[in-house]
Symmetry: C2
Subunit: 251 residues, 2 copies
DNA sequence: TACTTTTCACCTAGGTGCGAAGAT
DNA sequence: ATCTTCGCACCTAGGTGAAAAGTA
């Protein structure tokens, strides 16, 4: 499993595919922020070895970048509202510009601005995380500070969404997948191209498979303390339809 | 003064120019909704008489359409946040489709949806209104109900923004202005066109002149009960820069 | 050599008025 | 005759990877 790659640029590049999440088990009447940050998987720098098609460790990680939190633009919203929609992070952009003047910020809910750009190092491995933050525990929430942890804040990681940052794609199979599935890259599609083994490639990259993931919480409306298997870091995945809540996280 | 025209379509058409407003004098720490609705100027139907370039009464108004309120997508926000930005209503669209299935709604702040489409009758005169609604008086706020009035709600009308709804432009001077100033109509610009008298036409239409209007309120931070001339229906207008608050409205 | 930046053609997505056709 | 609808060419705005050029 060599993982996928994400382009980072000075101006900021979207992730593709974007993280999409379906949420269950929130208190419908509580208010929540939903946020995303991206944390290093290890403290290593990588290089891609073309002849073996593998990422190899190439030294220690560069010095950490200022932490950025992407607060979902629909924040602040009720649990009811969040659960009725698929929460998409397609506006988030990745940059390698450490000196970003924060001019790329947008208004996002009462008293909060939205950081459109998350700063990362190239040639490093990263893990996106989704945070669900109850309003009454959000006092320290800021685009420029780490997400607070503890009561009222629940964090989810999807290991299959780990990626390596690049300024130009290294693995040609990744390039092919991006061109084939991103509508904005349609201009590079070769209709007569060899598609043999595409399905096999797809299956190697769980990241691409079910675009919507499910975050499960204790469902305040439909269930009573059914202890499920979700730990908060290995949530269930659903392709379509209403997920079956199997809550363990209390929020 | 024959007023400007706005196209309405089944799918919905933006107003051009869009209403833009600068707000002063709010309590920085209070939460407010800002909304727009569009009310009939009279109960008449109109027709355009080409040879005299005038709108003439052509009968009584059609039966009223279901009221729609456009809640500004940045709602709910603090007075502080509202006052730091120019509030633009450029996402609002006008339609003549009375059977609009409300599928054109967007999430807008906790517990509220945003009506993108406002339903109007063609060949009628309308007045856009801006409402500033304090959160604790917003219990009845809904995209499908009239804006509540009374304490905690302040309504502003700008008489120079009255317009006539059409499905195709009647006055050719209006057409020329739209093509000349709307970037999306650039394809219809005739660079060699006669521009004589364009400035004169401009001055006839106050609507086009200063794109940003100012809503003044009692400024809780900088002043103490200075009774000004603003009545809430004849607010001052400013082209650029920070307006001087001359508040009379208490909110 | 190994990586980054810049420019570019080619897309998606959607906002214009025009003009022919449709409706009443 | 008067008004509305629809398809269209032509825009704005911005998201793609390719390829060339830049950097160290």
């Amino acid at each position: 499993d060599i993982g996928t790659e994400m382009i980072i640029t000075k101006a900021g590049r979207r992730m593709f595919p974007a993280m999409r999440v379906k949420i269950a088990g929130l208190d419908p009447h509580q208010q929540y922020y939903i946020a995303m940050d991206i944390v290093p998987v290890d403290n290593k720098r990588y290089r891609y070895v073309y002849h073996s098609s593998k990422w190899m460790v190439a030294g220690n990680a560069d010095s950490p970048v200022p932490p950025r939190v992407y607060i979902h633009p629909d924040s602040l919203a009720s649990g009811d509202t969040w659960m009725r929609q698929v929460v998409s992070f397609d506006k988030l952009k990745l940059t390698n510009n450490e000196l970003d003047d924060q001019g790329h910020q947008c208004y996002c809910g009462p008293g909060h601005v939205l950081s459109l750009l998350i700063i990362l190092h190239s040639m490093h491995k990263y893990q996106p995380r989704v945070h669900v933050i109850r309003k009454d525990f959000s006092s320290e929430l800021s685009p420029n500070k780490p997400v607070p942890s503890g009561e009222g804040v629940k964090t989810f990681s999807f290991p299959e969404t780990v990626f390596t940052t690049v300024t130009a794609y290294q693995n040609q199979q990744i390039t092919r997948l991006k061109i084939d599935r991103n509508p904005f890259a349609k201009g590079f599609r070769d209709s007569g191209r060899n598609r043999t083994g595409l399905e096999a490639i797809m299956e190697t990259y769980a990241f691409w498979r079910p675009p919507v993931r499910t975050l499960t919480f204790e469902d305040f409306t439909n269930m009573q303390k059914q202890q499920g298997g979700s730990t908060g870091t290995s949530p269930t995945t659903s392709s379509t339809g209403t997920p079956s809540p199997s809550g363990a996280a209390h929020l």
